[in-house]
Symmetry: C2
Subunit: 204 residues, 2 copies
Amino acid sequence: MSKESTRTILLETGRQLFLARGYSSTGIEAVVQAAGVPKGSFYYYFGSKEEFGLQVLDRFAEEVRANFERCLGDTSVTPIGRFRRYFEEVCVRLESQECRTGCLVGNLSQEMAAQSEAFRIRLEEIFGGIIDRYVEGLKVAEKAGEIAPGQDLRALAEFCLSSWQGAILRAKTARSTRPIRTFIDIVFESLLTMPVKAVAESKT
Amino acid sequence: MSKESTRTILLETGRQLFLARGYSSTGIEAVVQAAGVPKGSFYYYFGSKEEFGLQVLDRFAEEVRANFERCLGDTSVTPIGRFRRYFEEVCVRLESQECRTGCLVGNLSQEMAAQSEAFRIRLEEIFGGIIDRYVEGLKVAEKAGEIAPGQDLRALAEFCLSSWQGAILRAKTARSTRPIRTFIDIVFESLLTMPVKAVAESKT
């Protein structure tokens, strides 16, 4: 097995275990056993569990970004349709897992934001990057006349991202994509079609 | 110490520890030590950690319900203003804790929905009860002419609850109530003032 593939197998195994059981409940021992590699290999690639966890998170976030870019790059659909397609694709993916796993970024935010400053900062950077990308996507839709002009696109993007994370969370207890479909319907059939007043205080 | 107060101290200690560290990372040993009661007392009141956890959750949910009822019962404010006040009150409370703890119902949904069917079912019951109450509150606002008539109030209530949980989650990584204030602004200044189309499929 090449060095790179061992590292990738460890990261992929970490992702699956973190999604299934959470970060705290997943020991390094469990990761190397499930990955079928000797424990020494783990420490060859990763200095600590936290370093490993952050790399698992980065890899997941990179995939989210790539999927979002792919959807936004599909010019055969209108700008708002591209945006919507991303959420619909994730909905299908979550349905295939009976909505058990959720989103690793949301899961780790819930579990680790108060426990580890390193995780909190990385998670906040990831959310910030997603919001920036949402804003760009919304600007294109605004220019195309698909959403009402003059809206506070950053507040709207922040709200969409929070609401999306909340819908994925609710899908876990509902064991159904119903909350996610409600999110898609309300955001794309109502919210994005009407003006949102400027949010007075959008910085803290 | 009376029996009832020992039980209450254990439940309150559990709530604080679950909010700070999560359920899985909190052992019974840590609970009895922090509560300052002998371990035997724990098993006098609770058959297992899960039974204890469910009672901690119920107690938290009961408080959420009571706070919501209190806000909705304040007829010195308009129906939609009562609804809004509940979220503003929680925002102030979370700010006082630097948004570290979040909501126990949301936290346990994230952590336990896939791990324990007993938790998942109880959490879903709690969410269902909150949505029912949101719908009643929205109906009163609709009758008072504060929100556009003919909306799918259940879909709207479901969306508000998911979005609220998402905003609390985001506040944890932002270590700021900004996402919560954005939620309040968009929901109460825009979303609830315009028609939401009926959600085609609101049952699964």
